[in-house]
Amino acid sequence: MNNRLSVKHILGVEQLTLEDIRLILDTAEALKEILDRPIKKVPPLRGCTVVTLFFEPSTRTRLSFELAAKRLSADTVSVSAATSSVLKGETLLDTVKNVEAMRPDILVVRHSSSGAPHFLARHLTGCSVINAGDGINQHPTQALLDLFTVRERLGRVKGLKIAILGDILHSRVAHSDIRIFKAMGAHVFVSGPASLLPIGLEALGACVTTKVEEALASADVVMLLRLQKERQGRSLIPSEREYANFFGLVQERCLNLASDAIFMHPGPINRGVELTSELADSQQSVILNQVTNGVAVRMAILSLLWADRS
């Protein structure tokens, strides 16, 4: 079996082959048990330096990457844009070239501009770049952990019906999730207020509907997304109350789901808006499993990129 990735950087889901995706998932599965050991540390990334460069706020993703790196014995450094020289007028390229000059091996980048990690990958020669979320474009490691979680919980992906609900327009998670679940043979439906369903969405291969019930009928997976008010120049929906009323996941909307359907959310969740508190905490919710799996999947990605480098 091939145990090498076809790519040097993890920028977007569409750049990964099916073999890459399976390799990452299988590797994550093998590494996951480390998280439950009393001593949660193994040596494969000894000597590897991972720098996380976050030009946008993040708690979960950043912690997840840092823990993944530390579990594998990498050295990690975190740079936050708020404290970086971006505020002193330095360009992104200069900032990152300075980081590169200190010889890191893997850069984990989150940025508010779509394509920023691609731009860096094109200009950097010495290190691998992982996209930890770029603008409204993609969040490939989230998609991989979502896929991992579905496979772990339901045992398969092919043929499943995945319903993604909410702010599709601004959700880089949705843009990566649609691609990865389509690639793995699932049927992907997206739904939400029409003003949050972007023009051109069909290009990703999803079935787009403004009728939530149609998206939810017999769905095996319901992926809920947060309303990203901070990315909307002006509010694109009348109110949260109206949103919850027509598009939020409530018990009555769950009646036609598949019997073993699961609820997912990339976080942070707004209880009572995207879904009710009861559903968020129910047996069907795998929201916290996603978080645990995120560490395992990122361990897999880091170790595979490092293996290719060394």
Binding site: L92, S113, S114, G115, A116, F119, P198
Partner: protein, 433 residues
């Protein structure tokens, strides 16, 4: 002093001439046009070999006129100057350019217009016709001193990339300009719909996760400005048409007799939004590259005369503006030096008549701007351009005269190249020896 261009394919859209022949230049003017079919055969034996250019069948056309460029001077001389920009123009076959007012300071005052005219007279390789602002500071509120600006040498009025948002102000501008029979040039975009978009809205913007600019932003603005031109009777010119809907609106307006003309740029009939793939900031411009359907409509518009002119929207930027995140990158690409090569594709692939193509690049802009040139006529200043339609053109940093090299064609090999440009009898560019 006499010069003879012989064995040339003479193309003159003003007279509809497309014949083999020769042009004699004496003291900076066209002294004679001789056609092979009229029995012309080398009676110029008194000329020295150095005074004779055997063009070997290359095209000899009127010096080209680009009615939409950005020369960046005053204020952003690190991107381009009047000297380098007009040198690039000469290399592209142009003898005259109209420069947009978004300099620093903007050209909203007689002093700036006068500065540009003087600088061009001293250092220019091409004539420079300054376009002044419609409103002071391009702010969309108070009109500039149009009459005085015209006297100082302004050729037309435009607020360029910051189109006049308030329809009442645009109406006022058109009414006032009509009193001076002045031309209003509209960068037609409804800014509310442009918002923070950075490329065409649609399939590609979704695939790249970039915010889109819908084509209706152009359509609505073109509709408004045509309606106002019709209502006020002003002369209106629509800049850089990029959408099918805009082409159709202009076609209908012309059929109704509205005084509107329009231009497009080579990139809109050469490229589509696909060129943005890979977050290529050299494919970022405003209006954005559109879809294949729009591209075809633009070509059709040029062929049926709906679009009168090909203008480059030459917009130099340095790496400071382009080697950045796509969202932050400046809009615009250079175009003066690749315009002819790209436009020849219209003849080669799309069946456009060479006469019509040359009209779009010379005679039509001359008529819209009401300036001299754009034709081959005895006793007129010798504004000439020689085009080798088969010569390859490698677009490299070294081969460009512009100070900037922000073009999506960098590194490409194009076909067809300007080999000589003459402005009033003075050679401003030559690859011939």
């Amino acid at each position: 002093m006499e010069l003879l261009f012989e064995n040339a394919r003479l193309i003159d859209p003003a007279s509809g001439l497309d014949e083999m022949g020769a042009v004699l230049v004496r003291n900076g003017r066209i002294a004679g046009i001789f056609l092979l079919k009229d029995g012309f055969s080398g009676e110029f034996t008194h000329l020295l070999p150095s005074q004779r250019f055997n063009l070997k069948g290359r095209w000899l056309v009127p010096g080209l006129i680009d009615m939409h460029v950005h020369l960046r001077e005053p204020g952003e001389e690190y991107k381009e100057t009047i000297a380098t920009g007009t040198r690039a123009a000469a290399a592209g076959g142009f003898v005259a350019v109209a420069c947009m007012p978004n300099t620093k300071p903007v050209n909203d005052d007689v002093t700036v217009t006068t500065f540009i005219r003087h600088k061009a007279a001293m250092e220019g390789s091409a004539r420079v016709y300054p376009v002044a602002c419609i409103t002071k500071g391009q702010a969309g509120q108070a009109l500039t001193e149009m009459g005085m600006l015209l006297e100082a040498g302004a050729i037309a009025f435009s607020d360029d990339g910051r189109p006049v948002k308030d329809s009442a102000v645009m109406r006022l501008a058109m009414e006032y300009a009509r009193g001076f029979d002045a031309l209003i040039i509209s960068h037609a975009e409804e800014l509310g719909l442009v918002a923070d978009g950075v490329m065409n809205e649609g399939r590609m913007s979704q695939l790249l996760g970039l915010k889109g600019i819908p084509s209706v932003a152009e359509e609505i603005a073109v509709f408004r400005d045509i309606a106002l031109a019709k209502y006020t009777g002003a002369r209106l010119h629509i800049a850089h048409v990029s959408t099918k809907a805009a082409v159709e609106l202009i076609r209908r307006a012309k059929a109704e007799g509205v005084g509107v003309t329009a231009e497009t740029a080579p990139h809109y009939f050469t490229l589509t939004e696909e060129a943005v793939n890979g977050y290529n900031t050299n494919a970022k411009m405003n209006p954005p590259l559109r879809t294949e359907e729009d591209r075809q409509a633009v070509i059709e518009g040029l062929k049926d005369g709906t679009l009168d002119a090909i203008a480059t929207d030459h917009a130099p930027h340095s790496s400071l503006e382009k080697e950045v995140e796509f969202d932050r990158a400046a809009n615009g690409i250079i175009g003066l030096e690749t315009a002819v090569s790209l436009s020849l594709e219209l003849v080669r692939r799309h069946g456009m008549n060479p006469l019509q193509l040359i009209a779009c690049l010379s005679w039509n802009p001359a008529r819209i701007l009401r300036v001299a040139g754009g034709s081959l006529r005895v006793n007129e200043p010798a504004d000439l351009c020689v085009i080798d339609v088969d010569m390859p053109f490698e677009v490299t940093r070294e081969n460009l005269f512009s100070k900037s090299c922000n073009t999506p064609f960098l590194g490409q090999r194009l076909t067809g190249r300007v080999v000589l440009t003459m402005k009033a009898g003075v050679v401003t560019h030559s690859l011939l020896n």
